[in-house]
């Protein structure tokens, strides 16, 4: 149904591009003007502000930057964020692929609903996501599960917000995959697991990797869905984004900027990695 829903991950390009070099015109007068306007707007909105973060974060030199990050509470927040992001990403790789597989290869009543629901975490406001999870796992949980103010709560909230990434990256690739090769493998006596491992999985690797990168970036940068459920206890459940905010509110903008620089770095590396993956997938055909 809506396999391409949430095409934010069309960052992937899905290897279908037919662009050849030399396609695309040089700039004429009108389009130069457009480019100028676009550049100014992007500079004012994105480039200058993000540059300001980096400049403020590294304003006291490497030692200042390092000191800010090795502040015990900040270091704990960064460690917690990165370790939770790795955990959540690992779960996503496996279960995201399973969900994509089931949505493409299986037929059952209610499949359309599941397909629609996958995108809910993407569209749902993060604070609402936090409240939603808190109502289920919070103080008066109907399941009698108490995950508020714990790391389990953080883990579940991050799982919730990162669900769509791997699923939506893998789904379109699975849809376009040629079934003939799998049938050939089956006729040659390969069992289903071998077919998946040797035939299907290698085709999915770029998509899984790209979805994974997006999920990891999202998990590292998440704020809204965590603020209610995590309780923001320093050394225990305070994540990097919350730490930035509390540093900034406690009149330590340089410290906040240093942590923000780290998160920004993760974001840029993620995008470059995805861009590299896309190029690689296109080259491989």
């Amino acid at each position: 149904m809506s396999a391409r829903t949430g095409k934010v991950w069309s960052l992937l390009g899905r290897g279908r591009r037919r662009r050849s070099k030399g396609d695309g015109a040089a700039l004429a007068r009108g389009s130069s003007l457009g480019l100028g306007v676009a550049t100014i707007w992007l500079s004012l909105l994105v480039m200058l502000p993000l540059a300001a973060v980096v400049i403020k974060g590294t304003g006291n030199g490497w030692t200042g930057f390092w000191d800010a990050l090795s502040n015990p509470s900040t270091a704990a927040a960064l460690r917690l964020t990165v370790s939770q992001a790795f955990l959540v990403t690992a779960v996503n790789v496996v279960l995201g692929t399973v969900v994509a597989w089931v949505l493409v290869r299986d037929e059952f009543p209610g499949k359309g609903l599941i397909d629609l629901v996958i995108d809910v975490p993407f569209a749902l406001p993060t604070i609402v996501a936090g409240l939603v999870l808190l109502s289920l796992y919070g103080p008066d949980s109907p399941l009698n599960l108490q995950f508020a103010n714990t790391r389990v709560g953080i883990f579940i909230a991050l799982l919730f917000v990162t669900v769509p990434f791997v699923v939506r990256a893998v789904q379109p690739v699975l849809l376009e995959l040629d079934r003939d090769v799998e049938e050939a493998a089956a006729s040659l006596g390969a069992d289903r697991f071998t077919i998946f491992r040797r035939v299907v999985f290698p085709n999915l690797i770029p998509a899984i990797a790209a979805g994974t990168a997006l999920a990891f970036a999202r998990a590292v940068s998440e704020y809204g869905s965590l603020v209610l459920i995590s309780g923001n206890l320093p050394f225990k459940t305070e994540v990097a984004a919350v730490r930035i905010l509390s540093l900034n509110e406690n009149d330590n903008p340089a410290g906040a900027a240093a942590v923000a620089t780290v998160l920004l770095f993760v974001a840029v590396v993620t995008l470059l990695a995805i861009d590299g993956l896309r190029r690689w997938a296109v080259r491989r055909g």
Binding site: L45, L48, L50, F108, V120, A123, I127, V132, F160, G224
Partner: protein
């Protein structure tokens, strides 16, 4: 094996997403619908919805105009710095909203780079509406562009060139050839951007310092504040409206998507 996978997939999505949504709806209406209506018509609540709607409307319009223009630049032209431009457009998607908000404060805040200059001109950006709009535009920036770019790449330039050869000017070519073929992608991007704008929390919270109730407070900030004040009814009611809006956006997208897919597969024939 098939049933096991199906069970795992449905169970995972159901437990993680469907059940919690259901519980929120249930909790909201615990004390009856009239209480919910009372909470929703509260003066500061109505104002918060107005602020959110105002910011989202501005952000969507700005991002649509910008998105169409930048997509055409990125796909149809080759110029130095094109990849950098593309990276800058994508960046807001993976940057933490908190970092986004902080970045805007560093530049447009009272002590920021442009703050004093803007101040002397009588403009206040941070802690005011322009800041809310800037933050909202920032976080929803890539959504429209990323929808249009693949479609523009797919349709190629033949028809546009034909139109130009037949004497159409740039505006006519855009209006009669390019726009009709990307209109579904634009619509899709607009809905995505709208959903994102309505729900933005982190970046807006930083640029408004949580917002002043009845002035610069958005619905998402209000949810956090009310929950903190143990006014669960207001928090849940407002959340339910936001959730309904975002699910409505998703449904609209699911309806638009097949239409646009059909369109592009017709083109290929």
């Amino acid at each position: 094996m098939q049933y096991l996978l199906r069970f795992v997939a449905v169970g995972y999505i159901g437990l993680l997403i469907l059940v919690p949504l259901f519980v929120v709806a249930q909790k909201t209406f615990e004390n009856g619908a009239s209480k919910v209506w009372e909470a929703l018509t509260d003066e500061t609540m109505v104002h918060a919805f107005q602020v959110t709607a105002y910011a989202a409307a501005h952000a969507v319009v700005i991002n649509t105009v910008f998105g169409v223009g930048v997509s055409i630049l990125l796909v149809r032209y080759r110029f130095p710095g094109r990849r950098l431009l593309s990276l800058l457009v994508d960046l807001p998607l993976s940057v933490s909203p908190i970092v986004a908000g902080l970045a805007l404060v560093f530049v447009y805040g009272r002590t920021g780079w442009f703050g004093p200059a803007l101040d002397s001109l009588g403009y206040q950006v941070i802690f005011a509406f322009p800041g809310i709009v800037l933050a909202t535009v920032f976080v929803s920036l890539p959504l429209v562009v990323r929808e249009i770019v693949p479609v523009l790449e797919e349709i190629g330039t033949e028809q546009e060139q034909a139109a130009t050869i037949l004497g159409a000017n740039a505006f006519q070519t855009f209006h009669r050839i390019t726009l009709p073929s990307i209109k579904w992608a634009v619509a899709y991007g607009v809905v995505l951007a709208l959903a994102r704008s309505l729900g933005e929390f982190g970046a807006v919270k930083v640029v408004t310092a949580g917002g002043v109730a009845g002035r610069t407070q958005t619905v998402t900030s209000l949810v956090e504040q009310r929950y903190g004040e143990f006014d669960e009814l207001s928090a849940y009611s407002a959340s339910l409206v936001l959730a309904a809006a975002s699910i409505l956006c998703l449904v609209v997208i699911t309806i638009i998507r097949p239409a646009s897919d059909k369109k592009s597969s017709d083109k290929k024939k």
